[in-house]
């Protein structure tokens, strides 16, 4: 199975030279995968989205659908490494053993996410 992620970044106002680049790469995926999912992430506890006990490398995508509040992403050992502000997204690989947890900070948020195992 093939997955084709493409990233485009543009900025025409910060510098005298316009920033505009795009990168794409076709990925071979296997199992397991988690299709697009929306979940309510609360402030009460760390919510595990990727089980650290499942072997494999996973490509992880997430988008914060809240209009006002951010969400923290961290390993299941609580090492924080990302903070998704309202409307922001991320796409990155994570290894088995790390898992992935989300935790809302100020109020519950709706997180859209999906992940696919590297094939």
């Amino acid at each position: 199975m093939a997955l084709v992620p493409t990233l485009t970044i543009k900025d025409s106002t910060t510098f005298s030279d316009e920033i505009s680049f795009s990168v794409t790469h076709s990925l071979t995926t296997g199992t397991p995968s988690q299709g697009l999912t929306k979940a309510t992430i609360t402030t009460a506890d760390n919510q595990e989205l990727v089980d650290n006990g499942v072997s494999g490398v996973f490509y992880f995508y997430a988008k914060n659908h809240d209009a006002n509040n951010f969400v923290i992403l961290q390993t299941t050992a609580s090492e924080q490494y990302a903070r998704l502000s309202p409307g922001e997204f991320c796409f990155f690989p994570i290894n088995d053993g790390n898992g992935l947890e989300a935790r809302a900070d100020t109020a519950s948020i709706i997180l859209e996410y999906a992940y696919w195992a590297k094939g």
Binding site: L3, D11, G87, E88, C90, F92, P93, A114
Partner: protein, 142 residues
Amino acid sequence: MATTTATVSISSGDLNPGSTLSINASSTLMKTGLTTGMELMEMGNHTLAVDTEKALSLALGEVNGSHFVYICNTTTDDTRYIEWGLHETMIGNLGAGEWMFIPWNNAVTSDSEVELEAKIGAATFEYAIFKSAWTLPAAGGA
């Protein structure tokens, strides 16, 4: 006001039964809160020797700041990969040709560097960092 936008599209013709997968998400990169206007961008290309670790540094004192990092492993040898991590914790492997984009952040320390290490063989990568603020280092004195 400076406005930097990032867009991701993820597609697949054979992942979902009976339909194609087509994810599209776009966002304006924001400082902490809802303010736009990233103030510093740094781009570069580097080659990592095998088993050599390098860091993409944060400005000191920016705990819980807003920073975005794009990294692409531009190596063409698909046996080689780059381990990426944060603050001494390895997070994942970036294979040949693969890219990642993440709002990088650590809540507990200003020493929250993104760390990269080539595995199997030397690996080249390109990167871009967007920071919400940048504090120039103090002068060493005359």
